[in-house]
């Protein structure tokens, strides 16, 4: 009864390949949901929401001047990914992160790729997150992005495309784990019957990747999570990960640098720190080095890092891989460094900095999405088809003034997924963020954060703008 009035419409639907016909990997789920009455389903959803609030699985919103804690809306209907599809995603992500790390190493050392004319020097040097201090610095294992959250979407035909790489401080993995714990309780039998792959070893894998970086080669290096503090919107995640890994969560004021070695202040005196999983952006980690007004950071941290006495994950300066203009060059990087064709597609991208692209962009502003290169979280964007004439005029001016700072892409209609909306099930747009760990090896826990735009027709999945999440079930077979 659940899907009685469901309309797939003209979208790629994750569950329905045609009206009234589900993909085989969704069959068991459909049967189970059909057994539930509407009120039973609502009741389960309410129980879930209450349990999240009680366990403090919340994020902080600063809308009303004072921060309020909210739960990240969670939808009861899981997204299902069959084994073969996951295998392709996994290979694609591994290939991509390998190329990105090679690229970062190259850029901060020989710059072979620039000399060979594949990526223009001025694009690299003008990246907001480019860090000259990192030039010729030997980083542990040659790795810059240790934890990457790569956003994937599916187009009208169901092809997986990379939307962006988040190589600074990607968040969301705690929701992946918390959602799973909740779902196992709500649908225990279905979960077993469908043969879902485990994800609860993520914290263990993360700790392994961190320990691998330790400059002191000893059995039990001291790793910590560095948080901006309890008022940060992702604070729950920081403390969740620290607890799951069994390591300390520290704030800037807990750390102190003496003779270029980082220590934490404990009741027994100072204790040396080897690896810092920092959840603070480059700009804020060291007021002596970056922003003088930062109260979050640790004075002297960068010097300790450059002396090789402490490891940071992710490495400072890794943000250039996030730059939206750099995204344009990633397929070329894969070909250049790995001599392979990209496994995962990209969204067609136009650069105003390139002569012929610029004219095309200006002529087609009403059909394109224009993004500012250095922004994230859905800010600084022009949604062409729904924009006003004056907004387009303003963007045209800004593009002409500073072509380097923008990219343009066609509007991709994200795939949809059945979602509980009020007392009905309707299609809502979704994306997908798996988490990629790079240490001695690349490891990806089978799953990730499926974000869903809860507003009808909306393509914006960000939690700050009305997005929610779903559990993601990667199947054994």
């Amino acid at each position: 009864m659940a899907f009685e009035a469901y309309k797939k419409e003209d979208f790629f639907d994750e569950m329905f390949r045609a009206e009234d016909d589900v993909f085989p990997h969704y069959e068991k789920l459909r049967v189970r949901l059909d057994e539930l009455s509407r009120s039973e389903m609502m009741e389960r959803q309410r129980r879930l929401d209450h349990s999240f609030l009680e366990h403090g699985v919340t994020f902080t919103v600063y809308a009303d001047g004072q921060g309020t804690e909210r739960i990240f809306p969670f939808d009861l209907i899981p997204r299902v990914i069959p084994a073969a599809e996951w295998e392709m995603i996994e290979r694609g992500l591994t290939q991509r992160i390998t190329a990105l790390n090679l690229f970062l190493h190259d850029i901060y050392h020989e710059r072979q790729i620039v000399r060979d004319g594949k990526v223009p020097a001025e694009i690299v040097d003008s990246c907001e997150h480019y860090l000259p201090a990192m030039e010729n610095v030997a980083v542990p294992g040659g790795i810059y992005i240790h934890i990457c959250g790569t956003d994937l979407i599916r187009d009208h035909e169901g092809n997986y495309l990379v939307l962006e790489d988040n190589g600074r401080c990607p968040s969301g993995v705690s929701y992946v784990l918390a959602n799973r714990q909740a779902m196992r309780r709500v649908f225990p039998r279905l979960y077993r019957r469908m043969g879902v792959r485990r994800i609860d070893h993520y914290p263990e894998e993360l700790l392994r990747s961190l320990q691998f970086l330790s400059p002191r080669k000893q059995d039990d290096p001291v790793c910590v999570v560095l948080t901006p503090g309890i008022y940060n919107s992702a604070y729950f995640e920081h403390t969740f990960l620290a607890r799951e890994m069994g390591i300390e969560i520290v704030e800037g004021k807990d750390l102190i640098v003496v003779d270029n070695v980082v220590h934490m202040r404990t009741t027994r005196g100072l204790v040396r720190v080897d690896v810092i999983y920092r959840r603070i952006d480059d700009d804020f980690i060291d007021p002596q080095f970056f922003r003088k007004d930062s109260l979050l950071g640790v004075p002297g941290l960068m010097n300790a890092y450059l002396h090789g006495n402490v490891a940071l994950a992710n490495a400072p300066g890794a943000g250039i891989a996030d730059d939206k203009v750099m995204y344009y060059y990633v397929p070329d990087m894969i070909r250049y460094y790995l001599d392979q064709e990209p496994i995962l597609g990209s969204v067609p991208t136009y650069l105003p900095a390139v002569e012929e692209d610029r004219q095309y962009i200006l002529d087609n502003l009403d059909k394109l999405v224009v993004k500012a290169a250095g922004e994230s979280g859905g800010y600084g964007m022009l949604m062409g088809p729904t924009s006003t004439r004056s907004a387009r005029r303003e963007f045209a001016e800004r593009i002409k003034e500073d072509p380097r700072n923008f990219v343009a892409q066609p509007v991709i209609s994200l795939s949809r997924h059945p979602t509980i909306c009020g007392s009905r099930i309707e299609g809502r747009h979704i994306d997908f963020r798996p988490f990629v760990l790079s240490g001695d090896d690349v490891r990806i826990v089978p799953g990730g954060l499926t974000r869903v735009a809860l507003k009808k027709g909306s393509l914006v999945v960000n939690s700050s703008q009305g997005g929610g999440s779903k559990d993601t079930w990667v199947l054994n077979e």
Binding site: L53, E54, H55, G56, G229, I230, Y235, T239, F240, A242, R243, E248, I249, V250, E251, K253, D254, I256, V258, M264, R265, T266, T267, R268, G269, L270
Partner: protein, 335 residues
């Protein structure tokens, strides 16, 4: 253990103990108001509570219109009272949130639930319908919290900081409540012996020890010097001393830092004192001196373990930073 974490554990525990005492006081007082005789004013019953537990300018304002003020509500939930039960629990939760990784899931969930409840309209409604029920819920939460600490936390440094927060707060509150017996001297309605004992959860234990005899002297002896009752000041001082030595690893009877020295000396004094000690200065002055020593213990504890280990403090911490830390601690105490 991180100094900041030790500090947060300590304050979380103190605020919870404080909330429990406040809730019990309000509950006891409301019960006794039921026995009001004709001609007695209800506000007379609330005066001593307000005098003891409310401080600052805000309260002198509140006291001015005492006849109309709902003191019970003021202590329990009033938004304008920074020391309300609601606020204590909110602060305990704030501290807990910053050290969630150190707590068992059960502890956080219980604390989070009571905090969400006290912030809600439901709490307001419950207060107006059955205020004693709200008090009991807070008391019950505190007892569950203690039980969870006891049964789910490893006995490491952190658990000793939790114990110290609880015991220091207990010693402070027990002695303050005892002080209410002296209010007759300052033209304040004094509180009955039974209510003082009830407010410290001590009535049954007291009766068992002293049978029918009730006098200010014997109540004072019991609440200050009992070696067996877990809320007596002496018992708390012993517990703090035990925690301190467990943390430092030093043998009892010796001290390795200032906080151990003054705690040990207080414990010794309480163990070997009796009525004469109180009679020398009078009960009120005796309690006054006791409280400043308890404050000193809190202060030295902070300087020893939280501020920075003394060996490195001079090299690494600037004067300004130290001043900030002190300021921060003052804020915690006031809230």
């Amino acid at each position: 253990m991180l100094s900041r974490v030790a500090d947060a554990l300590y304050w979380m525990s103190r605020y919870i103990e404080r909330a429990e005492y406040l809730a019990r006081l309000v509950d006891v007082n409301m019960q006794s108001i039921l026995d009001l005789q004709a001609g007695e004013k209800e506000s007379e019953y609330w005066k001593p509570l307000l005098y003891t537990f409310a401080e600052g300018d805000l309260i002198s304002e509140a006291r001015a219109d005492l006849d109309t003020l709902d003191v019970g509500y003021f202590i329990a939930l009033a938004k304008e009272n920074p020391g309300s039960i609601r606020q204590c629990i909110a602060l305990a939760r704030e501290n807990a949130r910053s050290i969630r990784d150190q707590l068992s899931e059960g502890i956080f969930v219980e604390l989070n639930s009571i905090s969400l409840f006290l912030q809600s309209d439901e709490a307001e409604r419950l207060w107006h319908r059955a205020p004693e029920e709200l008090c009991r819920r807070v008391i019950r939460f505190s007892l569950v919290f203690q039980g969870l600490c006891d049964s789910t936390l490893p006995r490491n440094e952190g658990s000793h900081f939790i114990q110290m927060g609880k015991n220091l707060e207990r010693a402070d509150k027990t002695s303050r409540i005892l002080d209410m017996l002296t209010y007759g001297d300052i033209e304040m309605p004094s509180v009955s012996h039974a209510n003082v004992l009830r407010s410290c959860s001590a009535l049954a234990a007291y009766r068992y020890e002293f049978r029918g005899r009730v006098s200010t002297d014997s109540v004072a002896l019991f609440l200050l010097f009992s070696s067996r009752f877990p809320r007596s000041v002496r018992f708390c001082a012993e517990a703090i001393n035990t925690s301190l030595h467990a943390i430092s690893g030093h043998a009892h009877g010796h001290y390795s830092n200032e906080v151990e020295r003054i705690t040990g000396s207080l414990q010794g004094e309480l163990s070997f004192s009796g009525l004469e000690a109180i009679q020398q200065t009078g009960l009120h002055d005796y309690i006054d001196r006791l409280q400043s020593r308890l404050n000193e213990i809190g202060q030295k504890l902070f300087e020893t373990y939280i501020l920075l280990p003394s060996a490195v403090k001079d090299v690494t911490v600037s004067q300004r930073e130290r001043a900030e830390f002190f300021q921060y601690q003052q804020q915690q105490q006031q809230q």
